[in-house]
């Protein structure tokens, strides 16, 4: 949660929270555990109607400018997705909007923006590769321009909503750098293996590209020149993921504090036991720190600050580390009931654990941070 929200941002937060409470209460999320997609197109239309998908789009293309700091605005919604452990490709949509609305200076895909905002067009963002590989330098998926065609080969993994999307933005290596292309769901040579995750409703797919041939118009930005854009997209993805995690942790924390006040053991509420209180105090420190570092990262992103990338990876490292520890210890504080399917705590734990790993574990990011410190 950001502290210094504008009136408009406060309104956005309250609107999003009420919307989630009404349209995606926890029992409804539970209902979708067994569904293939984890969410329906109808749900995504509702989210879009609320204007949540439009926050990362330029105003000129039908986007909504709330505070002039689009990432910070979008993070407010991401946090509410986290609080509700709600389904839907909010993160990929925001990242793709960032890619075509801001990063791509050629502007050749701006026509997609209205469809994206309205929820008619569903997108995915294919970045990581099998073996938890999140370093573009180590990517194997490759793209080359051959005449008036682009030929794409390789595999992308952990693609959120990759089986549901109409269009996927793929990052691949090309001769002299990174290149991004849009691949439609029905492209010949593309095979999609749907997958599940620990989360109740978040699905990930593996996409295999075998000589997928695309027109040059599929290029997003100039070939070989995508590194900067990819870095911006990764930053945004990391920060929205952090915001979402923060929302999940915050609600799980509130839920547990409430429970601890009502649960009696040995003649008094368990919330009065010092050993538990001290752990709760540490958690409060970590939760506020997690919000602070996410907020700093978002601010740097919106301002295109020089250290924006470092701050995004610091946020991811901190948030992913502490969030997992917190929600695990929340179960400990709660006791046996937290080990049951019917108690909601694990819904938040699941989202937190998935977010910990996707886009790189904190261990991965610490190693990157260490390397850059020593450089």
């Amino acid at each position: 949660m950001r502290l210094d929200l504008t009136e408009e941002q406060l309104l956005l937060r309250d609107t999003a929270r009420r919307f989630m409470e009404a349209e995606s209460p926890l029992p409804r999320v539970r209902d979708q555990f067994d569904s293939v997609e984890g969410f329906s197109r109808a749900w995504w239309s509702k989210v879009s109607e609320m204007g949540f998908t439009s926050l990362m789009a330029p105003e000129s293309l039908g986007g909504t400018t709330l505070s002039g700091n689009p990432a910070r605005d979008a993070a407010i919604v991401a946090e509410e997705f986290g609080r509700a452990v709600a389904p839907g490709p909010f993160l990929p949509t925001a990242v793709v909007l960032q890619a075509i609305g801001s990063d791509d200076e050629t502007g050749s895909h701006r026509a997609l923006v209205p469809e994206l905002i309205s929820g008619q067009l569903m997108v995915a963002w294919a970045f990581g590769e099998p073996g938890s590989c999140w370093r573009p330098e180590s990517f194997r998926a490759s793209v080359r321009v051959s005449g008036d065609e682009i030929i794409l080969n390789g595999t992308k993994a952990y693609v959120e909503a990759g089986a549901e999307a109409d269009l996927t933005l793929v990052t691949a290596r090309s001769e002299r750098g990174l290149t991004q292309v849009f691949v439609p769901a029905d492209a010949p040579g593309l095979s999609v293996t749907p997958g599940r995750s620990l989360d109740f409703v978040r699905r990930f797919a593996t996409l295999r590209f075998e000589d997928v041939r695309l027109p040059l118009s599929s290029l997003v930005g100039e070939p070989d020149q995508a590194e900067k854009a990819v870095t911006r997209q990764l930053q945004l993805a990391l920060l929205l993921q952090c915001a979402e995690t923060n929302g999940s942790v915050e609600r799980a924390f509130e839920m547990t504090i409430g429970y601890m006040g009502e649960r009696y053991a040995f003649g008094r509420p368990i919330a009065s036991y010092q050993a538990l209180k001290h752990r709760v105090a540490d958690m409060a420190l970590w939760i506020h720190s997690a919000m602070a570092t996410t907020d700093s990262g978002l601010q740097a992103f919106d301002a295109r600050a020089q250290n924006a990338f470092e701050l995004a990876t610091i946020a991811k490292t901190y948030v992913a580390t502490k969030s997992t520890q917190i929600v695990s210890d929340l179960a400990q504080l709660t006791g046996g009931i937290a080990m049951t399917w019917d108690y909601d705590l694990h819904m938040f734990q699941r989202r937190v654990a998935v977010n910990r790993a996707v886009l790189g574990t904190p261990e991965h990011h610490r190693l990157e941070i260490y390397r850059s410190l020593c450089a």
Partner: protein, 407 residues
């Protein structure tokens, strides 16, 4: 008593003749087939005189010692032995031995040893997990029976058990710990309803909830005296911690740092090697720390076993081991999350769901069940180290007064 080395040779010979080598069955709840296999095996072991080695002969045991039990377990390592009796034989039986009346002991202990009767504990309630002495289940005395009403929770194996040891309140005006009795309740009796508790993984139920609706049991089913319920429960918890930690009567019955956890740890190394994450040195320290913890936990278990066997350690040392398990297990689960990265929490449709993520979700089971880490820390600090208890009046007030404090 039979010389220990003579016994070793005799056990060795019988084991080689009669048991088959372990095949590495998966852990977790087990089906009817596995239970029948267990029952057959246990009967065979009982008939050969190797069940209840430390239990007096008048109750169907072998009349030997815990040292003989340790030797048996050592010799039987690697062989398929029954896995389903840790609670019944490792915890409930010694409690019955300590506090049951002769009628109960002579009737039930031989059946328990032979695997014909399985007992479980009924201590925790929905209203309070750790604070078992706060039981709200009622026992009302009639002429020659008790009438039980209430509910119990977190009982493992209630679906297949025959008897439960149930803590219930007889006197509501006595202080909390003094108004309780312990009762042997036949679980197929009229008025008993047993429902499964779905665990956090969504998998099959390990734990159950039982409802007692005017369940009538004979007076002789009271274990200990009418005000002794808490004393019996504490003894039960003592045997439980010991069995879980792999010491005392539970030794060799499947508790402690089991093969399950060992092979799990090996999996981390294998997973690390297989995935690109391990190429990274990012998780090397975690993997090594986890491995060190596992080895040291086993060494501590050996140390405490030695100490208890030699009489150098007395009392609540099982709590130290239980606490260690309750700390190491969640750490291990977190290390696995780190090592496996996205492959631990994301998987392809149709494939088995990722063990790593589900294991992390349920890793607090061991640190909550059987006395949470917090309870063990209280026991270690107060009873092993002698630190003063916190002030409080919940031991002296009438229970009915205490109840009024809850909103």
């Amino acid at each position: 008593m039979e010389d220990i080395e003579d016994f070793r040779r005799r056990a060795q010979a019988w084991i080689r003749e009669n048991l088959v080598l372990e095949t590495g069955e998966p852990t977790g709840p087990r089906g009817a087939e596995a239970r029948q296999r267990d029952r057959d095996l246990q009967r065979m072991i009982f008939d050969a005189g190797f069940a209840g080695l430390a239990i007096p002969t008048e109750y169907g045991g072998a009349g030997l010692s815990l040292e003989h039990q340790r030797v048996w377990a050592a010799e039987a390592e690697g062989y398929a032995t029954p896995k389903g009796y840790m609670v019944s034989i490792g915890m409930m039986l010694p409690t019955l031995l300590d506090h049951g009346n002769e009628t109960l002991k002579r009737r039930h202990i031989p059946r328990m040893l032979r695997g014909d009767e399985i007992w479980i504990q009924l201590l925790s309630e929905p209203s309070g997990g750790s604070d078992m002495a706060g039981a709200l289940t009622k026992a009302v005395r009639r002429s020659d029976s008790y009438l039980i009403n209430g509910s119990k929770m977190w009982s493992s194996g209630a679906d297949t058990a025959d008897y439960g040891m149930c803590l219930a309140r007889i006197d509501w005006d006595a202080p909390k710990h003094r108004g309780l009795g312990m009762f042997a309740i036949p679980l197929r009796a009229k008025g008993v309803t047993i429902e499964p508790i779905i665990p956090v993984t969504g998998g099959p139920a390990h734990f159950f909830i039982e409802y007692f609706d005017d369940v009538e049991i004979p007076r002789e089913n009271l274990i200990g005296g009418e005000g002794d319920g808490w004393t019996v429960a504490q003894r039960l918890l003592f045997h439980e911690r010991n069995a879980t930690a792999g010491v005392g009567y539970g030794y060799g019955l499947g508790g402690g740092s089991s093969e399950g956890s060992t092979s799990w740890r090996k999996d981390i190394v294998r997973l690390a090697k297989a995935s690109e994450v391990a190429g990274d040195p990012a998780t090397a320290q975690l993997i090594a720390e986890d491995y060190v913890n596992m080895v040291v936990a086993r060494q501590l278990g050996e140390r405490i076993n030695t100490g208890m066997r030699m009489g150098l350690l007395q009392g609540h040392w099982g709590s130290l081991l239980k606490l260690g398990m309750g700390i190491d297990t969640p750490f291990n689960a977190e290390v696995a999350l780190a090592v496996c990265g996205a492959d631990g929490v994301v998987w392809t449709d149709g494939e088995a769901p990722g063990d790593v993520g589900l294991n992390w979700l349920s890793c607090r089971g061991i640190s909550i069940a059987g006395g949470s880490n917090e309870i063990q820390r209280n026991i270690v600090s107060e009873r092993l180290l002698g630190l003063p208890r916190e002030p409080g009046d919940d031991k002296s007030l009438p229970f009915s007064e205490l109840l009024k404090r809850r909103r």
